[in-house]
Symmetry: C2
Subunit: 500 residues, 2 copies
């Protein structure tokens, strides 16, 4: 406190280190405890929530100081903290990183009359996990406080899921349906090319690079390259106040379409791997579901929104602007999952449905009478959304990334992943900035992670391939925010926006 | 829609029924599904969250129409929905109501090399649960989708826990420390008498009514009658805008002290039951912990709050008013649990610490520059707090309440519970309304439920006693809001408040 203006880098490094050490100590302190007494397991979740918020805070600060996007800082802080905690044998990190195994063990324990230890032996016998990870998992399942850690990990995952749907909801809120229709054609072109090109290039690349692999593995890796994570890109656009530019709308529209198409591809590829062949009718059913879902919701938005808000206001006038949108977000996310789409697709649709005009009711009293829905829900997003990015960072297994094989495969696939999406934007009209659109489609983010996890579960991705795919997800996700930020900053200088 | 102003009761009953049926169908619809495919388990949590928000909405509406407190409506809707769903064999309700058994089974599965089915047989062999509950639990543990339901139930419990700490935090925010000091003496008197009287009366009553019980059971039942639930009372005061009256401060201060004292009593009684004797040093340690905790936090609040807010603002100026208070809430709740107090005690302390003046920093930009911390965090409380009350209702087992034995024991104990707290207020000075203070201390709420659950776990409460204690919790909790509302309304007419 003596020197009030030290060199900014000293500030960054020293505060970063102090908080990291503090967090590490706090997170680790819980390691041994918790087994005795009547402690509330959620108290540990509150602790983790606190630490994650601090990590996100430091990440945002460092990103801001180095002129990067906040999401990059949050992700990297998650990766660093995850690496440190994993080395300390933190059971929460082991659970978060091996959630698929934990789920499989849980399923085996309930389906057959197995004990945890028998089940984990059964699962690990068939897995290709590294010996030290297997040891950690075995040690995990003989912990007397395992149940508590499962509760904590589930809750952290839940907070993260709530964060990502709140984020997508807010993105949907900021985009109007009429705007979506305007950039609809371009979004469709980018989305479809952005799937075909990475798939074809990825397939060819794995054929040459890894000829010994099975056909299923080739197809699955290629499919993983098709994913687009709307979350990362949306956050960058939002952070820089550029969510309203036409390029952002093309990218976000395309990312939503890609999400739907990606899930169709996932369903198709999973079907292929499981049964050996795939029926065209399955593909059609998923496609019809998606169209009907969006169609019904958007019809509801235009026809019934105002009336349902009025009905809702009869029940509770003072909370209508808070509870109605939040409840809509919940039910749309659920319905999307119910018909086989991702919850985030439903959350985005819920955001699209909400129009501020529908909430302009006479005589609404209460604590938020003159505020917009977006403003009222912003604190919820502000608290929960950073958790998603930090937890995504925590899930990245740093120890597996630094072998030569993984680095080469991952590096080549990353180039293919970037090029494929970038090339998808060449057909865009001249008035749009192609590079912004191309780069905006690059991050695989959580969609890529979901693909990778399922691939590992199906046995088509072994340890090295899984690590390589994780590297693709990591690099495409890391590369996008700074590249996109740079482009958006120069975009601003060319054509300044009126609402900046 | 034809008749725009039907009789209010028709409105109430018809809309209530429609939404109840809708909710029942929705909740039940999930029953059979979820086992196939790669569904996101949290999607089901979002569904449950949606239904709980609707139940709370209808509950608030009905309470409002019948001039009752909102919390009573939310509680009753939870009880009704829980009863209906339990009859439908909803696994989530079975898990929520038998969380202690589920936890014990989980512990046994990890500690010994048991399968779920062996573990559940072991636990149920020693339990005195009704045969139909035992059957439901056995059926639960052979469900192939058990794991998913455990995740859903955990997440609902987590949302509820987050709700109650947000509620207590907001209560703390509205009370200033200097005000607490003013009513401190009266709070301490009410708190101590409110523990001694119900304990003595309850002990004597069980000696006469149930002479065959063990000494431990007598002591435990008496201890359960000492609990005070600050949540219910705080909500009633808040709903009626009376949180600032001196009586509210006495009650809330006394409830906080009771929470601490109640935990000491719980620790003492649990120790007595487990080992047969209790050491005075254990009581002293818990007492010292509580004093040191509050002392340190309040010292932090007066000495370091402003400086730490300024440090925080260096990292993220635009979110300081949102993230700082929320992070403080998380860490204080955790720390309270860590030293053996309830998380809600920490949450209340966190609210006490926050002073708006500390957040008056120069040049704070962002979406909430001119708003108070209370206003910014209100949406979080608005979404999560109702979940706590509905879930409390869901936990009440309606089927066990209607035997003659339970009704008589429960009824007598309820009278003792009400009289004991009411009599504790006789020593209050004349300027305070004794009845408001007495009634305000009556609800046992979640604290009573925690006591009851632990008592069942320790084996000192058998099925009937447990049901009777639940009845006490239920009746004291149900009776308080209307009684307190009535008193507060007449209070208003005698001495109208300036800030109404």
């Amino acid at each position: 406190m003596r020197n009030r203006n030290p060199h900014p880098w000293r500030w960054i490094i020293s505060t970063g280190l102090i908080i990291l050490l503090f967090c590490g100590a706090l997170f680790a302190s819980g390691d041994g405890g918790g087994s005795g007494g009547h402690h509330n397991p959620f108290a540990r979740v509150f602790e983790a929530f606190f630490i994650i918020l601090l990590l996100a805070l430091v990440g945002r600060y460092l990103a801001n100081k180095t002129k990067q996007s906040a999401v990059l800082g949050e992700l990297l802080m998650g990766i660093i903290a995850g690496g440190l905690l994993y080395m300390q044998d933190n059971p929460i990190i082991t659970i978060i990183r091996n959630f698929d195994i934990i789920e499989e063990v849980g399923r085996l324990v309930t389906q057959k009359e197995y004990s945890y230890i028998t089940a984990v032996d059964d699962i690990l016998a068939e897995s290709t996990l590294k010996p030290d990870v297997q040891t950690k998992l075995r040690e995990l399942f003989i912990r007397p406080d395992l149940e508590e850690f499962l509760i904590i990990s589930n809750s952290i995952n839940f907070i993260s899921s709530l964060g990502v749907i709140l984020l997508l909801f807010m993105v949907g809120l900021e985009i109007s349906i009429s705007d979506m229709k305007k950039s609809g054609k371009n979004s469709i072109i980018v989305a479809i090319l952005g799937i075909i090109l990475p798939f074809a290039m990825g397939y060819g690349c794995t054929l040459i690079l890894l000829p010994d692999l099975s056909h299923s593995s080739h197809v699955f890796i290629a499919a993983t390259l098709c994913a687009t994570s709307i979350g990362i890109t949306a956050r960058v656009f939002k952070d820089l106040g550029k969510i309203q530019i036409p390029e952002a709308k093309v990218v976000l529209g395309a990312a939503v379409i890609d999400d739907v198409l990606g899930l169709i591809i996932l369903a198709v590829v999973t079907g292929m791997v499981s049964s050996g062949n795939v029926q065209i009718s399955d593909i059609l059913i998923i496609l019809i579901k998606a169209v009907v879902f969006f169609g019904l919701l958007l019809w509801f938005g235009s026809a019934l929104l105002k009336r349902s808000v009025q009905l809702f206001a009869k029940f509770d006038r003072s909370h209508v602007k808070l509870i109605y949108p939040f409840a809509l977000l919940m039910i749309c996310s659920y319905l999307a999952d119910l018909i086989g789409l991702a919850t985030i697709v439903g959350a985005f649709a819920a955001g699209l449905i909400i129009r501020e005009e529908a909430f302009q009711l006479k005589g609404i009293k209460g604590f938020q009478n003159n505020e917009t829905v977006e403003h009222i829900l912003a604190p919820l997003e502000g608290v929960f959304a950073p958790v998603f990015f930090v937890v995504m960072g925590l899930q990245v297994d740093t120890s597996i990334l630094f072998t030569k094989e993984v680095l080469v495969t991952g590096g080549v696939l990353t180039l293919v992943a970037i090029l494929g999406k970038w090339l998808a934007s060449v057909t865009m009209p001249k008035r749009l900035n192609k590079h912004i659109i191309g780069i905006g489609m690059v991050p695989r983010g959580e969609v890529g992670l979901i693909f990778a996890g399922i691939g590992r579960g199906l046995g088509v991705l072994d340890n090295e391939l899984f690590a390589a795919v994780i590297l693709v997800v990591l690099l495409t996700t890391l590369v996008t925010p700074p590249a996109l930020s740079k482009m958006l900053r120069s975009y601003e200088s060319k054509e300044p926006l009126k609402d900046q």
